[in-house]
């Protein structure tokens, strides 16, 4: 049973690895982007000179042969579902028994005038990075459009090369449809502290031509013209499925899949960014273009192919990011605006660079989400509290168990508990933070 996987990103690669782990089926992994799997999230570090491209490859080149995962570097041009055949751009065709579409995303472009000019590009693929690299040599000023995770990465990348950045964000504040106002404001401050010209409530209206097909400036909806040599378009991503539009696959925004990641066509599956769940779990999105969910889908799908039916269950939501030097972690649901049945405990360090937020249910007191800035929390501990719907009164005295900052770092559990006691007129104690790891492991076992 030959499984062919289109796309060697985290989803496709994870599926291939686990199919190999759990079976001896032949597996083929196709990509036109890169001969080997690399960490997409690490592209920025290659640009900044922290890493070489080969350092972003989690497995050495001989890994694939050793594990009998057949690699093809080619672009799939069309899909013949009736004959179970793929047509490749190198003229070959490839037969499959099971097909996995894991083609990821493409950058959103919203038909701005001038978006086809040279020097306008998103950041998603290796080729995008190479393009940006060739433009960076003489660049003095770049504009980044769109206030999401890739936008801030791109701003940081240019900043590392002393290229001035104007960062256009449509919203009132950076990423404020995801982050609560306090955290969003913290990131705003940090962006500006780094010398980035952050312009909120500003959208791109048009990109101006220098007369030679090159970008010369952007025009914003506030009427300002900003001269620049490069425009980074980071207004989100959408599933990379345009090439399947004419196929019998059922497609909405992404390829529609059931809980077993199967499309409407038997033996054809879709995972990762390009898949759209028909019935996402409560509180979750139909498309989650996140590294972690891609990996989980790959693992689940391999199980389905090799072992038996297993519904995709992403578990408790978590995510993380780093905004310049500001680390961010979230476990559970911490929405930008608080639902009426929830309350929040938010502590922020006076330096404005660290915070801890715990959301909880008003009536049952059960914790519903943890979000930290500049402080690391332990996933397994938070996950257990969230899964068990542990009341806040039980969580707070043990908050030290959740801390994952390096040794010798200052701890802030006392301040959080004090804040809570003060706000709710309680008198919760804080358990001693000694031998934490032993206590954590005991807690996780029980």
């Amino acid at each position: 049973m030959h499984t062919v996987i289109i796309g060697n990103g985290i989803s496709g690669t994870t599926a291939a690895r686990f199919i190999r782990k759990w079976s001896d089926h032949p597996v083929t992994l196709i990509s036109s982007e890169s001969p080997y799997f690399f960490s997409r999230t690490a592209l920025m570090y290659v640009y900044m000179g922290h890493l070489r491209q080969k350092d972003t490859q989690p497995y050495p080149p001989d890994f694939w042969k050793k594990n009998r995962i057949h690699l093809i570097q080619a672009h799939v041009t069309s899909l013949d579902i009736a004959h179970k055949l793929l047509q490749l751009d190198n003229g070959q065709s490839l037969a499959y028994d099971k097909l996995v579409v894991a083609t990821g995303s493409v950058s959103n472009f919203f038909n701005w005038p001038g978006q086809e000019l040279k020097g306008v590009r998103g950041l998603y693929s290796l080729q995008d990075l190479e393009y940006i690299e060739t433009y960076s040599k003489e660049l003095t000023h770049a504009v980044v459009v769109g206030g999401g995770l890739i936008g801030i990465e791109l701003a940081e990348m240019f900043h590392s090369r002393n290229i001035q950045v104007t960062f256009l964000v449509r919203e009132k504040s950076y990423w404020d449809h995801v982050l609560a106002p306090e955290e969003s404001a913290m990131v705003n401050r940090h962006i500006r502290e780094n010398g980035i010209d952050l312009q909120t409530e500003t959208s791109l209206k048009a990109i101006l031509d220098d007369g030679k097909g090159q970008v010369k400036a952007v025009l914003t909806d506030t009427g300002e013209t900003i001269p620049c040599g490069f425009v980074g378009i980071t207004a989100g991503v959408r599933p990379n499925i345009d090439w399947l539009k004419t196929s019998p696959l059922e497609i909405e925004r992404g390829i529609l899949v059931d809980a077993f990641l199967q499309t409407n066509i038997p033996d054809v599956y879709a995972i990762g960014d390009c898949a759209q769940l028909r019935q996402p779990q409560p509180g979750r999105q139909a498309i989650e273009a996140v590294w972690y969910t891609g990996r989980m889908m790959g693992e689940t799908l391999a199980y389905n192919i090799c072992k038996g039916p297993l519904a995709y269950n992403p578990g408790v939501w978590f995510n993380s990011a780093k905004f310049f030097h500001l680390e961010y972690q979230v476990y559970g649901q911490v929405p930008a605006s608080l639902p009426p049945d929830q309350d929040t405990l938010y502590w922020e360090h006076p330096d404005g660079k660290k915070s801890i937020r715990i959301n909880f249910d008003k009536s049952s007191q059960a914790v519903t989400g943890f979000q930290t800035m500049g402080i690391r929390f332990r996933q397994e501990v938070c996950e257990k509290w969230l899964a068990n719907r542990t009341p806040l009164d039980e969580v707070l005295p043990k908050l030290a168990l959740a801390n994952f900052d390096p040794e010798f770092y200052r701890r802030y559990e006392t301040q959080v508990v004090q804040l809570y006691n003060h706000r709710f007129h309680k008198n919760l104690p804080l358990q001693s933070p000694r031998n934490i790891l032993d206590k954590v492991l005991q807690f996780l076992k029980n």
Binding site: E193, W291, R295, L310, F318, A321, F324, F377, Q379, L441
Partner: protein, 600 residues
């Protein structure tokens, strides 16, 4: 676009290079003329002096412009004298190699080697000797000023991880300047270890400091210690500046700076002043491989209570300190908090940490090489002490000592087998068998040697073992390769491939320690920063992306993997629970087997 600090950094680089160039050039700023008196003083043997002196006449009225030509002639003179002595003994005195007096009268090679340095020192005169303070001071000011200009801009940046441009800098990525620096360092070690007579001008420069600290002139080891400490302090400040947002890095760096300055450098100087044995109190056998050599044992045994304390302290550190501290904290308590080699690696070596080889092949070579060095050190030490001890008597005789050594080895092996069975430490079977075989081989061959009443325990002269170890491991590996290869193979080449103490600490860490690097659930994005910046060449990511806690014998616990991780995935921790359960097999990220059965 250019950085706002480009000019500052260019001037800084220029100043450092000029300072170094001036310091290097100072080696040529003296002339040398032989003093008859120094030949007599340092040969310290009237017969030898009488035989050598006639050959030295041609040198006496000459002034040499540099130490190279001076030593070329001096070598000639000494060799001619040596040959004349040999002929005189054989032809005129009728002695031959079979006579014992022949060997006490002949001029040995080591004498030829060791008199060159003091004779050259006394022969030095001229510009540098007259202006030593000025030359040294100017070089020092240039290097300090340059370092300040180079590293102060870090302070202007916001605190946080910044490895920008590491892979585009030729110095930090084996480019031309990296190779140049590596060559300079290798050359320095080559001269320091084998031709110190060419470094006398530097010793003259640091003499005033030496007199202040130990009331004597600077030896090449004083010079080396001073330079070493200086580099650790300057680059340590840079390290603290770079990681000023990270309390673990600040404390750790401050610790290696403290131990180098006080324990490795100043304390021994003061002890030497007091005419006491002057060891580095934090240097532990087998890194301090000469601890049990005859002259060190003699020195300690003849220095009263303090000497006995040193003997006890050294043995206690090896047999109790290492296992106990490593059990509680991992080998980091030594390798990245206390050790001098580690101190240099973590400060001067920090800009080169990403150059370590992460391949599986390198790991295989590492495991063989480092453990072979450990075995070599153990065998050599047993042989040396064996020869040192009396054959018969009431106290510690040779056979009693060998029995004790065998018992310690047997105990260690038994302990490992017991642990492996009891707590499933998952030591690979092959490693267990090789280790056990080696242990029994040492005990067996030794016992056989005793039974056969061999003069030398392992059929090889202990003197021979000592000189091999001293040359290949002590000088070439630890110095030339260990530090010279910083810009070529990363900053821990010696610690990773050669240090026998690291091997010993690593065995304890792997087999019985609370230390591990905890992986934070499934937050890893496989970016590769941790693996890239691991100076020990551990592929940290391969564990992190599986959610598997890390216990590796080579991990020195520098904590940089946790520092550079953009998602807060790694944490260095000590805890007694579950260490082997969490590191043994892959802990599934998402589907655990129990979950699967529930769903089916």
């Amino acid at each position: 676009m250019r950085s706002p600090h480009t000019l500052q950094k260019t001037i800084g680089t220029f100043a450092v290079i000029t300072g170094l160039a001036l310091f290097t050039a100072s080696l040529g700023l003296n002339s040398f003329s032989l003093r008859e008196k120094s030949l007599q003083t340092h040969l310290n043997n009237d017969y030898h002096y009488e035989m050598v002196a006639p050959f030295a006449i041609s040198m006496l009225d000459k002034t040499y412009s540099n130490s190279l030509t001076f030593n070329r002639d001096l070598h000639q003179v000494l060799k001619q004298g040596q040959e004349a002595i040999r002929q005189d003994l054989e032809q005129n005195k009728g002695l031959g190699p079979s006579d014992e007096t022949y060997w006490s009268m002949v001029m040995q090679d080591y004498v030829v080697r060791s008199v060159k340095l003091p004779i050259t020192r006394e022969a030095a005169q001229g510009f540098l000797s007259d202006h030593a303070g000025m030359t040294g001071g100017l070089a020092l000011i240039l290097v300090l000023l340059g370092s300040f200009l180079l590293y102060f801009p870090i302070w202007k940046q916001l605190p946080g991880i910044d490895n920008t441009g590491v892979f585009s800098s030729p110095l930090k990525s084996r480019g031309w300047s990296g190779i140049l620096l590596g060559s300079y360092l290798i050359l320095f070690y080559l001269i320091l270890y084998f031709y110190p007579q060419h470094l006398v001008n530097w010793m003259i420069i640091v003499d005033p400091i030496s007199y202040r600290l130990n009331n004597g002139p600077a030896s090449q080891w004083f010079l080396y210690g001073l330079l070493y400490t200086f580099v650790i302090l300057v680059m340590g400040l840079r390290m603290i500046l770079k990681y000023r947002h990270n309390a673990y890095q600040i404390w750790r760096t401050a610790s290696v700076m403290f131990f180098q300055t006080c324990f490795a450098f100043i304390l021994p100087q003061l002890l030497a002043w007091l005419n006491q044995p002057a060891p580095d109190l934090k240097n532990i056998w087998p890194l301090d491989y000469s601890f049990f050599f005859d002259y060190r044992l003699d020195e300690m045994l003849q220095s009263g209570t303090f000497g006995l304390f040193l003997l006890f302290w050294g043995i206690a550190l090896t047999l109790i300190g290492v296992p106990v501290f490593t059990y509680f904290f991992g080998k980091r308590w030594y390798c990245s908090w206390v050790c001098g080699c580690g101190g240099l690696a973590e400060t001067m070596g920090d800009p080169f940490r990403h150059l370590s080889d992460k391949s599986l092949r390198a790991w295989q070579v590492e495991r063989w090489l480092i453990h072979l060095v450990l075995i070599f050190a153990v065998v050599m030490t047993i042989a040396v002490v064996y020869t040192y001890l009396p054959k018969q008597g009431s106290g510690l005789t040779r056979s009693v000592f060998f029995s004790i050594s065998s018992a310690v080895l047997l105990f260690a092996m038994g302990f490992v087998w017991f642990l492996n069975k009891k707590i499933k430490a998952a030591i690979p079977r092959r490693a267990l068998l090789i280790g056990t075989f080696t242990g029994f081989a040492i005990i067996g061959i030794g016992t056989w040697g005793i039974m056969a009443e061999k003069e030398y325990l392992f059929w090889v002269q202990d003197y021979q073992l000592r000189s091999w170890y001293g040359f290949y491991v002590g000088s070439v590996f630890a110095g030339l390769v260990g530090t010279g290869f910083y810009p070529l193979m990363g900053n821990r080449v010696w610690c990773r491939f050669g240090c026998p103490l690291a091997a010993y600490l690593g065995l304890v860490q792997r087999i019985s320690s609370k230390f591990r690097i905890t992986v934070n659930g499934s937050q890893c994005i496989s970016c590769g920063n941790c693996s890239t910046y691991c100076e020990m060449g551990i592929d940290v990511r391969s564990y992190a992306q599986k959610g598997q806690d890390i216990v590796r014998s080579s991990c020195v616990g520098c904590g940089i993997c946790a520092a550079v991780c953009p998602r807060g995935v790694l944490k260095l921790e000590n805890g007694s629970h579950d260490v082997y359960q969490r590191t043994q097999q892959t802990r599934a990220i998402h589907i655990s087997e129990t979950e699967v059965t529930l769903l089916n």
